[in-house]
């Protein structure tokens, strides 16, 4: 791991301890990194940074990024608590990328794909104009090269700061998947924690095969909003990957250690 990451990842000393959010075990960061950020004691899947995700799935040295220079404007001149422009600058400074998704060419288990990975660290992986555009371009690339499209989602949904234009990205990306489908380009959608809102209700739920990480929160409405609406406590495990598999909403739950192999197996079916 780490060949793609080094140039732009924040350097954090690896001898620090991280505490597991589920079993509270203290784990060496170095060990966590080796284990793809999965707790060795309880199997809890930590949030996996965007670049680690690429490194987890892509064969070493194969990833070539597309459209890294696309950046958001502020079409609404959105005035929240912090103006959108400033929020963007802060996120860009923090993550060293321009937007909330990274797209590119890669090989997975030797098979060429177009790979897109949301970046939750960038404004909660929210989808505005750039994320929508990059997904569409990735799909177009996939069609042109006749490569399968693999998307890994971690997103809070549509980006509020771009208002209606964010909402339109649901249609725009849905339409891109429709084109994939017409061109018979396979689309594997991999959902990580969390995938909610307008991203779930568009591109993420349209995969030919939909996989999810253990324990990932997946839904349209957030659990808090649902609780407020129905005035009940939600059952344990509600909207989690295992629950959704049980309900037939997704196809399978895949442990991170098996992620690459599983995607590879599915790709071989389509290849």
């Amino acid at each position: 791991m780490g060949w793609f990451a080094k140039t732009r990842r924040n350097i954090i000393p690896s001898n620090v301890w991280e505490k597991c959010k589920r079993c509270e075990e203290a784990i060496y960061r170095k060990d966590l990194e080796k284990n793809f950020w999965v707790c060795q004691k309880c199997d809890y899947h930590f949030a996996l940074p965007n670049l680690d995700r690429i490194n987890l799935l892509a064969d070493e040295g194969t990833f070539e990024e597309f459209d890294a220079a696309l950046a958001s404007d502020d079409p609404l001149q959105f005035q929240g608590v912090v103006p959108y422009r400033e929020r963007l600058k802060k996120s860009q400074a923090k993550t060293l990328v321009k937007e909330a998704i990274t797209t590119g060419y890669a090989k997975i288990c030797g098979l060429p794909v177009v790979l897109a990975v949301f970046n939750f660290d960038f404004m909660g992986g929210s989808m505005g104009s750039v994320v929508g555009e990059k997904i569409v371009r990735a799909c177009e690339n996939a069609i042109q090269r006749r490569h399968p499209f693999v998307l890994v989602s971690t997103s809070g949904g549509a980006r509020m700061d771009e208002g209606i234009l964010s909402l339109m990205q649901m249609i725009k990306t849905g339409m891109a998947v429709a084109r994939l489908s017409m061109e018979r380009i396979p689309f594997i959608s991999f959902l990580a924690d969390p995938t909610t809102g307008g991203v779930t209700a568009s591109v993420a739920m349209l995969g030919d095969v939909i996989l999810a990480e253990p324990g990932a929160l997946i839904g349209f409405a957030g659990p808090r909003v649902i609780e407020q609406t129905i005035k009940q406590t939600l059952p344990k495990g509600f909207q989690r990957a295992e629950f959704l598999k049980e309900k037939g909403v997704i196809d399978m739950v895949v442990h991170r250690s098996q992620a690459k192999n599983t995607v590879g197996k599915i790709l071989r079916f389509f290849a």
Binding site: V136, L167, G198, A201, S202, G248
Partner: protein, 322 residues
Amino acid sequence: MTPTVHVLPFEQHLVELENKITELRALSESSFLDLSAEIETLTQKLNASRCETYQCLTPWQVTQIARHPQRPRTLSYLERLFHDFVELHGGRQFPDDNAIVCGLATFHGEPVVVVGHQKGKDTEDNIYRNFGMPHPEGYRKALRVMKLANKFGRPIITFVDTPGAYPGLEAEERGQAEAIARNCLEMSFFQVPVVVVIVGEGGSGGAVALGVGDAVIMLEYAIYSVISPEGCASILWKDASRAEDAATALKLTSQDLLKFGVIDEVVTEPVGGAHRDFETTAQNIEKAIAKYLALLKPMSVEELQQRRQAKYRQMGIYTDQK
């Protein structure tokens, strides 16, 4: 203006003027005093004040009109603009969803499929209609009926009026995200003209599920947004009561949407809103639908699909900092 119209907070001063005029009229009739000059002055003042109020509505005031309890609904337009309506209830998988109505009808004598969100006209009706908030089976029913139109080459007209998808337990279990996404995908490749009319609230994903069209037209005081002003305010300021500020920030009015290229046309409403003069509103919508159907119907399937794809392909504003 009938006295039974529900008055919005920012319309209060108009009602006071109206009441004063009514009083004067009554007085002049009962006392044989000639108050016509006073009545005339007040009437002029009322008209001027009305124009002023409705000409510079704030986005929050527009939101209130869009949600007005007496605002005409999908079924009002269905009855007025369409004939021979045959409602189809079967989504085939789950019980019927009354938050969405759909069926076969004729428009200007030609067969079409009509689909729309339906809010209730009073509390009881609203409970029946789930306040116009669909469950996944509603979108799936709509899709099934729209596919009929696609199969038999009939245009589709959708009416959008929903606070949003229903944030409920069953709705999630039955995959509402997938249902919304599926509608977007399927609607993008229909081979028939689709005209979308946003008549009230265009609430987020629930609206998008019926919102993919060759022509998207919007009533002047309708709103269309990624999130409700209340939802936006609670995220931004942890305070839903700042919805007014959020409504401004979200740029959710018909004029904003026209500017962003999200809609094709604003359909004007009578002074005060659609509920003040349903007939005029209905006629304006009728003209707009007829205009776009006339434009779209002669197009070949390829042209229609290419045009629709090109339209959505370019939505979004960004820069390339290469």
